[in-house]
Amino acid sequence: MARDEMSVAVQAIDEIHDVGARGLFEHVGQFDHPVVFRGLARDWPLVRRARESASAAVEYLKGFDSGQPVTAYIGASETAGRIFYNEDVTDTNFNQAGIELGRVLDQLLEHADDPQPPTIYVGSSAIDLCLPGLGSENSLPRGSHRASVRIWIGNRTIVAAHYDAMENIACVCAGQRRFTLFPPEQLANLYVGPMELTPAGQQISMVDLDDPDLERYPRFSEALKHARSAVLEPGDAIYIPCMWWHHVQGLDPFNILINHWWREVPDYMGAPNDALLHAILNIRDLPQSQRAAWRHLFDHYVFNADPDHVEHIPEHSRGVLGTLGEDQARRLRTFLRNKLNR
């Protein structure tokens, strides 16, 4: 079976036991690879209740429910939990609906013993909006970091490999969850889908990790050589470095995860993907020789920019080539905005 072959072949994610939650956001900055922290969240009230039973966890969560509808993905049982595309990639393979969280939780309990349940998935919902107060005892101490804390609830679901442009520590609260991670440079071997139409907000790998069609996606076997995987139990946590591709599979009929997303950059910096789209618009279709020249410019001013590349320009005349601050960023953004409006 493909799954068994894979679990043998894929390297395990590094593990650290008995790490303290305090200061963890700074601590993970030293890692250039993913790390699993076993038992990090084992004492969270939500984790303790989920160990008791799914219904105990549901009852606990309902105590925080703001009544704010959340966006739920509902898929037919044939999708077997795969949050993906329809046959011809013109739409997703599930419907989206704004539903009260309490009703989603009830549906999960109703289908707990269903051998062929519908796919039920609520992803990336800000807990301050939908479950205010839950975070005070069920999230990591953030120190000076302004992290966004999200909850992910569902039954057996599979979200194919995708990246996020944020640092991430995710804590499994209920159910087993398998994470399979690929380093950023595996992009070309993951056969990534469209940018606009995405099942869960980010581009995903089109390859079925559990049953990869290697005739259609031959380079995926190379990606697998670089993959790292771990199955997390309730109370375990994982550090997913910014930009690492992660495939996430909920293995039980009732899964909850709470994650923390943060950026280590000034607020005035926008989404890097905006710059990528801008380059697709203005660079990609240039003649090859011009593109090669622009590669030099991008390397010089962006990718390899070190402080001395502008030392020959008096500091007061460096403009955007100098150190960007809040004010300089404002001017630059307005300049670009006006240029874009044509």
Partner: protein, 246 residues
């Protein structure tokens, strides 16, 4: 008679809007909804009243433009006969629609620009382009974006104003009989205005609170606009005379 579409710089790339505010161009209405931010500008030229909104049950502010359905006495065949145009007229075929989007995992309704494709001003040959050659917002669309945002913000501001007036019992029903120079009469119904006596009886504390919110100014703008009803009757008389003379 309207076909609303989400404004889209691909689907509507060649669209133009002929901004001639004249008879038969889609502006033949006898009332225009107005908002508190424009009362200062409008009170010099329009009679302003309250009407009861059948949906919300609360009061809206309106400028009276004519006496009969589809009679707009501020229009002639060439253009608009006033310096200032109410925002809900100026926006022409553009309107605010709402689109469901997901923000932080929560469904939210986001205001977006729609256009009424059946509005007489909408065409592909005459007027101002909606989009720049490569799909950017034209100066017209930038103006419309500002206008629609102001209208959007005007709804809660207007509601706060009229609900305060209701709370202080400062709105009174007005029934006015007007007679035109051909002897015909018209009874204005469903209009409300500020109750001046009760306003005069407010204590200093209440007036202070109204002043802080800018509402005292709005109240006096409404009152100052009322002589324009006479101007409107004059316009109607001139129209009757010109029809008779023709």
């Amino acid at each position: 008679m309207s076909r609303h579409e989400l404004l889209d710089n691909v689907r509507h790339k060649n669209l133009k809007v002929d901004r001639t505010y004249a008879r038969g161009r889609g502006y033949d209405v006898h009332v225009a909804r107005v908002f508190t931010v424009e009362l200062g500008a409008l009170q010099a030229e329009y009679p302003l009243f309250f009407t009861r909104n059948p949906t919300s049950g609360h009061f809206d502010i309106i400028a009276l433009l004519g006496f009969d359905e589809r009679e707009n006495l501020y229009l002639d065949d060439a253009g608009w006969l006033a310096q200032r145009i109410p925002m809900t007229i100026e926006r022409g075929p553009f309107l605010i629609g709402f689109q469901e989007q997901v923000d932080n995992g929560v469904p939210v309704k986001v205001p977006v620009v729609h256009i009424d494709m059946d509005h007489p001003s909408v065409n592909e040959s005459q007027g101002e382009p909606v989009f720049l050659p490569h799909g950017g917002d034209s100066p017209l669309l930038e103006r419309i974006n500002t206008l629609l945002a102001t209208i959007h913000a005007g709804h809660p501001a207007g509601e706060a104003f009229t609900q305060m007036l209701e709370g202080l019992d400062l709105i009174e029903s007005l029934e006015l009989d007007v007679e035109f120079n051909d002897g015909s009469r018209h009874t204005l119904k469903g209009l409300y205005t500020i109750h001046e006596e009760r306003l005069a009886g407010l204590d200093a504390d209440t007036l202070g609170r109204l002043h802080e919110k800018g509402w005292l100014r709005d109240i006096y703008m409404m009152l100052a606009s009322l002589p324009n009803l006479g101007v409107l009757v004059e316009r109607k008389n001139r129209m009757i005379a010109s029809v008779d003379g023709a």
